[in-house]
Amino acid sequence: MGGGRRRKRSFSRIHAFTCGKASFKGGHSLIGGPGFSRVVYCNDPECFEASLLNYGGNYVRSTKYTLVTFFPKSLFEQFRRVANFYFLVCAVLSFTPLSPYLPVSNVLPLLLVIGATMGKEVVEDWKRKKQDIEMNNRRVEVHQGDDVFEHTKWMDLKAGDIVKVEKDEFFPADLILLSSSYDEAICYVETMNLDGETNLKLKQALDATSNLHEDSSFQNFKAVIRCEDPNANLYSFVGSLEFREEQYPLSPQQLLLRDSKLRNTDYIYGAVVFTGHDTKVIQNSTEPPSKRSKIEKRMDTIVCFLFAFLVVLSIIGSIFFGIATREDQENGKMTRWFLRPDETTIYYDPERATIAAILQFLTALMLYSYFIPISLYVSIEIVKVLQSIFINQDLQMYYEEADKPARARTSNLNEELGQVDTIPSDKTGTLTCNSMEFIKCSVAGTSYGHGITEVERALAWRKGSHLAREMMEVEGKIEEFKEEKLSIKGFNFVDERIMNGNWRNEPRADLIQKFLQVLAICHTTIPEVDEETGRVSYEAESPDEAALVVAARELGFVFYERTQTNISLYEFDPVLGKKVERSYNLLNILEFSSSRKRMSVILRNKEGKLLLLCKGADSVMFERLAKNGQEFVKQTKEHIAEYADAGLRTLVVAYREIDEEEYVEFNEQFTEAKNRVSADREEMIEEVAGNIERDLILLGATAVEDKLQNGVPECIDKLAQAGIKIWVLTGDKMETAINIGFACSLLRQGMNQIVINSETPENKALEKSGEKSAAAVAFKASVLQQISEGKQLLSSLSKKSEAVALIIDGKSLIYTLEDDVRDIFLELAIGCASVICCRSSPKQKALVTRLVKTKTGSTTLAIGDGANDVGMLQEADIGVGISGAEGMQAVMSSDIAIAQFRFLERLLLVHGHWCYRRISSMICYFFYKNIAFGFTIFFYEIYTSFSGQAVYNDWFLSLYNIFFTSLPVIALGVFDQDVSSRLCLKFPLLYQEGIQNVLFSWHRILAWSFNGVLSATIIFFFCIRAIQHQAFREGGEVAGLEVLGTTMYTCVVWVVNCQMAISISYFTYIQHLFIWGGIVSWYIFLIAYGAMDPDISTTAYHVFIEVCAPARSYWLLTLLVLIASLLPYFAYSAIQMRFFPSYHQMIQWIRSDGQSDDPEYCHLVRQRSLRPTTVGFTARFEAKSKSTKERDRGH
């Protein structure tokens, strides 16, 4: 454990800001009281007291069902659906004499439908079960007594166990840190799975236990922990440790949470406090909300309408039936004597006609159940699962580098993907790779670095001008270069002028040397030397800091060791002309804070000179320059502006030399300020630090690219063209967020920015004054005022159709999300082309998402990668997780996981559009076919005095939905494409069909229902008029009930399947097989069923072979009815297609005319965007060309 020892140092010594030690205060007095009653006997979980408490084990279950609860629970879930419940009632009733048909014709479809859905549940739950098993069987070393540590399964852990967790392992439960491999008992923890933050967190054990370094130290270790009860708050913990008869306070500083990971520490010892479902992370995991798509909700409404309609039909029928039944007996004499009304049952009794009518109502309800598509739900579920398989299989959403395909985790939101209106997006890890790359720098007024950022590339691509060619050349050079050298994480700098030590030959080599020294020294990273290769890598708090140190390393200033007081470099000395080892005596670190926006180090170099090296944001640095240090201010400022426009993060680098006296004075003040224990400690430190960070001499500026993921600007541009709004919700600083906004073209130069910021000087002053309530009121007032100002600006600009961006910080968000401000804020936000919320907490992200979702009623898709996005993902209509290198938390709570942000383009514009189209067409068609079928049954009732006699054979009835007409609909739902994927991407505006819900509007649903009624009318009346009472065959035979039924059913099967054929415009072999197969299968069924024993086939016995097939009128009638029923729809769609084509039809035109490659032609149709004010580089380019034109005109 030499490494651990070597790294022993006092952190509190150099760092300016460190958190104080825990002490008994506040909450600790509550221990033992209600809510704070947990007692854990460390290292003695079997003792008597502990067994009395009986805390749960560490077994974790995430499955929905257990073996016992599966049947009752899943059946309950099934019959909670109104339609299923209705069919259940029908199935029960079908065993009574009320039934118009055999029970089997109702029970069989229901069993199939319920069985299929339950099968799906089993498969899904089994997957979860397997995950649980894996998790519960992970192993960790547990103290078994007598200083023996043994590997034990996670699920066997008990509260009070002492566990030893090694480097890079997950903590199995919530632990209290007792000691670690470091002498100071600190450890580093990565909490990515909890909050999505990638930086390491420092935890430190109590001094009392910090010396338990060996396994053997635990032989006689005994302690009692008293603490709060299990709760969901990740950031608080109150408890006390009783050890050697003394009480020590415990704070979150000692708590290691389950699902976080031990990093940079060889091992730790910890005592288990919370196990299994008591752990904070599991307490925190809310039941994932079950999401249903809008289409499905509307579908439920339609089913309800249909049900109401069915009831109305039944009532009408039963009234007529009641009247007819009453008339069966007139003055004690039978009229329809052949029905024997004198010797009847309650169902047909003329004397009790009212009751008969009421019972008849139930019969009718069952008979007309064919209006309600029983197989709709199960078909949709099958279709969605298949659709998700297609999404998962899509190679264009497969991320080869990480071997990660897209994964649709829940399949019930596919069509919602086609209706997304707003995308709240996380930034870090989602838009960006969360890797910073040093790409450019400006030293002594000269800009170095040829690298091209993603933004520049995107812009150039769009312009397609000579610039692009130029860039291609540069890129070629870079590629060449890269081939020679392996790419280095965090470094993307190419400039032969200063690489490979060439900087010595530059005119201001001395300044370049100083510049690089600053980069190598002024930071807080910790180096790690690989003992084999000798390469140095760095562990930094933020990736951009690491990027600068890496840059210095690559340019010849290798920082390799940090001790308490020294920083050591290998650097090139131009005077000596060789590489030397040099160490600097580190005196102070003035750390970065968001208010200071800079950091400095003070050191003494070999020559004994005192130097202050400083880097910081341009806004604070330029005003701190000395008069004689402003040599390159003009050039540097220009370069910084250039870099910023290319989407880079810039830092200004400067230094100064300090006199001994000045330093002594400073150090005194600084130490005093640091040792202060009052509220204004930090301000004091800031002030002292600010006093010495002045009169700086400018060296230059660095530009670090917060590297956007591949293709992000293009993707955002496409989405913007499709009319989707993108909101960036990030925890980052405002500056960073704005930079990224520029980088991905959500912001552009010349866009009006409304900035709502509560960090104004007045607000700060108020906060300092300590009156919290007054400060809050003032805050709110100022936020309100800023919002109303913004709205004025917005309304004045929207007339000129200029784009506006809204940028708001987290503190203001607190107030804007309050009930009374919410609506105005939302109005403002909706009017803006882009919205960026910075410094927002996970909860605020979720709240903003909810605000958009509920208030505008539009579909939201949240995308994020970290655990801090979980709330947002669950709140949004659809949550998309980025399955990047980060933790799995976001993916686990997402609905769909993709590997890269750019796949969103294909996911939405192609799959989303298709799925939306498929599902909505499918549902419309379902209602069509069932209405068509149901109405033929109803019409027939008119001719049977509403007695409830079905015109079709029982088996025909039950197989209609599940056999003859189901496969083509499923084919429609799985395979249909209005427009190929290439054209979907070429005409992004097509996506508006989903947002505006064109394909599933009430208008369209009604039209399809009407079409169903029309088809039924034509089928029924044509059939009964053609097969009246005359002979229907050459031999003079007349048609009975079974012939009419068979003929009509044949017509229905033909019409419904052919209606499908003419309403889709995409035929693969599969469609052909299913549609024509559906019709053929009807004939095959008819022959096979007719050949069965008359006991089974009853009226259908030989009906086709003997009766219908030889009759020419049967065939002629089928053809006539088919054409007559389809003619209205065909005429309608021909006219609509020709004279009022919808957008996808226009694209179909273009494709069929073979002109999809003719750019001018396409331009006609290709409306660039929905609104004139939008974002994306297309808009940026247009805005730019517009302003150029205006300038030209002005000249």
């Binding site: 005095s945 009419l1044 995409y1066 032609y1161």
Partner: protein, 336 residues
């Protein structure tokens, strides 16, 4: 692996790839004006001739319909037809004259037609036992035959309302004093005779109850040979229906007068039904019904009209290629 095998494997691979990437070769028809007009014209050109042929077939059928239910009740009894028909003591014979207006070629089908008779009423349709019809008294579970199931504890064969209400008017035809031969065989479906009505099943205790419904059966003849019953038991689809009675196997000349001697036994008076006697030849399409022909012609004509209207509109109006202004989202933004 041989070469053709590998080739096949490769093809399967690519087909699978295309399938999963949703880019299978597909036919993507677009309703271009050319297609639309062609289809409409084609429909018109098919259906008009077919309609004409069908109509011709229907017109070639000669049909004589004679309603006799009122005429066959003596004037004196017409006020209370019900008690007339229910009075067994009154002889029910009646003579009707039918004049042949057009040459009728044998075979000439004889039908009786009933109107307002709900043979498709659920209670009626269900009231039978197929098993009993096939197996006779061996089959005991005849509960479906309610209310005509048992008579004094004896099972009725055939049971059920349908059989009980068997039509029992009978007809004889005389031309020029010579009786016309009426073939009453083969009027029922062969499958019914062979597979649904038992060859060894004889009527039992039939029409022995207090209330006599319709016709009686010959107790000695098995059900499979009682074709009147078989015909009757194929329930009709609509309340107005014809059933085959027999066939005259001689041609009838123009102006032949046929004397029909009939027994008017069946009661349609209590529910206001009509009874008709129909003599009809048949064409290749069956009996006389102009509907099919008319419908074909109408569908054909409307297709033609649509073709013409569509062509005119198509020629008159420019194709709205790039015109996206009326799309729903643009309309909304214009108005909003």
């Amino acid at each position: 692996m041989t070469d053709p095998n590998r080739e096949r494997y490769r093809i399967r691979e690519t087909a699978f790839y295309l399938f999963t990437q949703q880019s299978l070769p597909a036919c993507k028809p677009v309703l271009t004006p050319g297609w639309v007009i062609t289809i409409f014209l084609f429909m018109g050109l098919i259906f008009i001739p077919v309609g004409l042929v069908t109509l011709r077939a229907s017109h070639s059928v000669v049909e004589i319909v004679d309603r006799y239910d009122i005429e066959c009740v003596p004037e004196s009894s017409r006020i209370d037809k019900i008690s007339y028909i229910q009075d067994d003591s009154i002889p029910k014979n009646c003579s009707r004259f039918m004049k042949v207006r057009k040459y009728m070629k044998a075979p000439i089908n004889i039908y009786y037609q009933l109107d307002n008779y709900y043979q498709n009423h659920r209670r009626y349709v269900k009231s039978r036992s197929d098993k009993q019809l096939l197996h006779g008294r061996k089959y005991h579970d005849t509960s479906s035959c309610q209310p005509v199931e048992l008579n004094n504890g004896q099972p009725i064969v055939p049971c059920g309302l349908i059989a009980w209400s068997l039509f029992n008017d009978s007809f004889t035809f005389i031309r020029e004093r010579a009786e016309l031969k009426v073939n009453r065989k083969n009027i029922a479906w062969k499958s019914d005779r062979d597979h649904k009505f038992g060859k060894n099943v004889h009527p039992f205790s039939f029409q022995n109850g207090t209330l006599i419904g319709g016709g009686k059966l010959y107790p000695k003849i098995p059900l499979s040979d009682q074709e009147d019953l078989i015909v009757w038991m194929r329930t009709s689809a609509l309340p107005s229906f014809r059933k085959l009675y027999g066939r005259i196997e001689e041609d009838l000349d123009v102006d032949d007068v046929i004397v029909v001697n009939l027994m008017n036994n069946y009661n349609t008076y209590s529910f206001g039904g009509k009874k008709k006697l129909v003599l009809s030849t048949s064409s290749w399409l069956g009996g006389k019904n102009n509907f099919l022909g008319h419908a074909c012609i109408i569908v054909g004509c409307s297709s033609l009209v649509l073709a013409i209207v569509f062509t005119l509109l198509h020629l008159k109006y420019r194709r709205p290629y790039g015109d996206t202004s009326y799309l729903p989202w643009n309309r909304k933004s214009l108005s909003g």
